[in-house]
């Protein structure tokens, strides 16, 4: 058994997140027994899980807590301290109480009702790209407006306000991009904005999720107003930022593995598998984040984690574990059994996973169908990667066809 005596801590994150290549240290650590000891820019040193089984255990086992991750000692890549509350910072039963009212709107059954309209939006955006003429920025003209339209419609947020809430959204994804006081300022503005929409729906109900959630709160009464507003704001941010980052990541990855793009184009029925495979292969997070704290002593693999110790779980690394995935570093859009952890695992499994899947499927399918010669229009060294954010992605991605 590994006794947990710390060797020298490794500096973490292993890279700056500019690019989709998973840092090579993870492969080495997956073949090293026990957990790695890492030192982040802020907070205490902590353990890092890299193997699939260990990562899934840390994310899924109720002996690990997110609620304990409060205060200046929390290991993190950002100067600001983690805020208390919010569904990502709660454990059951509080987590269940806050998240439960929203879950119904994001089941496969409900999401399928949005597929046709999402397809129409994708088609319209492609029309506009063709009209505008190649090259165009895929982020601005496709990857952002697609999920923003869908989430605005679902929640009942005016699409016309997108410039404002897009700016404020960065507060929730910034590690070092924004200074802490700007993060606080933007978060406050987004919450105030959502609070206003909630107040308006209370007076004038509409056919949207904000109204439905307001009614749940006002009838059941076990949700605080602030919890409701922050949950809805979280849905607005998470509901577009991630898909907007992943779509260009997918297009870039397929362009760099051109045989896979050709295959997808020739066999559009592979789109659902392609989305799962790209969710597995693309390490969306710049690094593992949101550490879990052990509520009691427990074994993670052959390593004893002691009560009160924080552990980071690398999803990007788990998704490349050859114990689970054959030829893990290859993109194979025909891959069948694909239990990737790209949407997380356990109670914090992405609430919008089914919505994101559908958007990514329709988004990718429309491009493959309408723009078969689509490719990245700039050289590798000219790519504009995001910086100082939790996720990898492009600030802009010029494409031609």
């Amino acid at each position: 058994m590994d006794t947990g005596v710390a060797a020298q801590s490794l500096a973490y994150p292993f890279g700056n997140g500019r690019g989709l290549d998973l840092e090579e240290q993870y492969a080495r650590l997956r073949d090293t027994p026990g957990l790695a000891r890492v030192r982040l820019p802020y907070g205490d040193d902590c353990w890092l899980a890299t193997r699939y089984a260990d990562v899934r255990l840390v994310l899924g086992d109720s002996r690990f807590s997110r609620q304990m991750a409060v205060g200046p000692a929390v290991p993190r890549t950002t100067p600001q301290q983690p805020g208390a509350g919010g569904i990502l910072n709660l454990d059951p039963p509080d987590h269940t109480r806050v998240r439960r009212p929203a879950t119904k709107a994001f089941t496969t059954r409900r999401v399928e009702l949005l597929r046709e309209s999402t397809r129409r939006i994708a088609e319209r955006l492609v029309d506009e790209m063709i009209e505008y003429g190649s090259p165009v920025d895929l982020v601005e003209h496709y990857a952002l407006p697609l999920p923003v339209s869908v989430i605005c419609d679902l929640l009942g947020v005016p699409y016309a306000d997108r410039a404002d809430f897009r700016t404020w959204s960065d507060a929730f994804l910034s590690t070092t991009l924004l200074p802490p006081e700007t993060v606080g300022d933007y978060a406050g503005k987004l919450w105030a904005y959502m609070g206003e929409l909630v107040a308006r729906r209370r007076v004038a109900p509409a056919e949207d999720l904000i109204t439905a959630m307001v009614q749940v709160r006002d009838e059941a009464g076990d949700l605080q107003e602030q919890e409701l507003v922050q949950l809805l704001a979280g849905l607005l941010v998470a509901g577009h930022e991630t898909t907007a980052s992943q779509l260009p990541n997918f297009v870039y990855a397929l362009d760099r593995h051109r045989d896979q793009w050709e295959l997808l184009r020739q066999q559009p029925e592979l789109v659902p598998r392609a989305v799962e495979e790209l969710m597995r292969w693309v390490p969306l997070g710049v690094s593992a984040s949101f550490p879990r704290y052990a509520k009691e002593d427990l074994m993670v693999g052959d390593h004893l984690v002691q009560a009160g110790e924080p552990v980071l779980a690398s999803i990007g690394s788990a998704n490349r574990d050859e114990r689970v995935f054959a030829r893990p570093n290859e993109i194979d859009i025909t891959r069948g059994d694909n239990p990737h952890l790209g949407f997380g695992h356990g109670v914090h499994h992405c609430l919008g996973a089914q919505l994101a899947r559908m958007e990514l499927q329709e988004g990718l399918a429309a491009l493959a169908r309408r723009l078969p010669t689509l490719h990245v229009a700039v050289a590798e060294e000219e790519l504009a990667w995001k910086d100082g954010m939790l996720v990898r992605g492009f600030r802009e991605l010029p494409v031609s066809w």
């Binding site: 899924g60 059951p92 269940t96 119904k104 089941t107 949407f343 356990g346 109670v347 996973a353």
Partner: protein, 77 residues
């Protein structure tokens, strides 16, 4: 009298192994080969099990009241 009035079923073909239910109601569900399985098919009424069923993204968990035959989760609408 048997107090285990609820029946819990998991459609393992529909299950995507999200781990939501195991995290929400660890006394009622476990992951077996990556997919959820109820620890017991008949249970006493338990709000956390209902919450777990409602939280399943693919609605793979069905909870039924054995006495009345009424489906308690997932919700009909």
């Amino acid at each position: 009298m048997d107090r285990r009035r609820w029946q819990v079923e998991v459609d393992r073909d529909a299950c995507i192994g999200s781990g939501m239910c195991v995290g929400t109601a660890p006394d009622a569900f476990d992951l077996v080969e990556g997919r959820s399985q109820p620890l017991a098919e008949r249970i006493e009424p338990d709000e956390q099990v209902l919450a777990a069923a409602e939280s399943c993204p693919v609605e793979a968990i069905r909870v039924t009241d054995v006495d009345t035959g009424r489906q308690l989760a997932p919700p009909a609408d």
